[in-house]
Symmetry: C2
Subunit: 128 residues, 2 copies
């Protein structure tokens, strides 16, 4: 199993590549406020797990497997955050912060139920 930290980094790598086409180790260092050596280490671990291809200064590429993994996390994050905001009326910031932590431990089953619950709730509101 991938750890919460590594999952966070992978998620960030994925999102950043989508947004800006590329990412460097230093970006992760800045985003998470961790030292450059810690990033190096984390990237080596992600590469060991075949989630990224890391060739030092030559750049960071995300593998197919890494994209799958990252997408799963992003989806969980999104559904959690939306559920908190739209159903529980939590403020956006708190919702995001908590989604970031819960996404690493919650089962897919609950995520799916949250999604369906939200969808049916919104449908009901349209009708009224």
């Amino acid at each position: 199993m991938i750890s919460a930290s590594l999952e966070d980094y992978l998620e960030f790598i994925h999102n950043t590549i989508l947004e800006k086409k590329e990412i460097k180790a230093i970006d992760i260092s800045k985003a998470f406020n961790i030292s450059r050596p810690s990033v190096s280490e984390a990237l080596i671990r992600l590469a060991d797990m075949d989630l990224i291809i890391y060739e030092g200064r030559k750049g960071i590429k995300i593998t197919k497997k890494g994209i799958e993994q990252a997408k799963k996390t992003v989806k969980k994050h999104q559904i959690l955050s939306d559920f908190f905001v739209e159903i529980l009326m939590i403020d956006k910031q708190t919702a995001e912060k908590n989604a970031c932590k819960i996404e690493h431990v919650i089962d897919d089953e609950i995520i799916e139920k949250m999604k369906k619950y939200k969808e049916s709730k919104l449908k009901n509101n349209e009708q009224s």
Copy 2:
């Protein structure tokens, strides 16, 4: 901050004392499937944090501070599990398993909203 593991052990200590009046290190070892030395170590850390009083074979006592802490966790656990079962229709076992993990990372604010949401939902069902 207390770690998820220590919080689990403290929760178990609290629940067991309520149920059976006393608890021994070996009970924790069996309950969580961790070695006796690991339990020793964890109990020393909990004692360092003034959450328990640990005097080896003389027994484990939970402090006032420890009870507060444990109660908070138990409450979070209960509300999460109930919310999953009653609102999201998750099966009891999955609900419990996930509550065990999420209770360590979720903010009080969301727990309170979950509780209120569930209460108002149940009230509405009574009326209909």
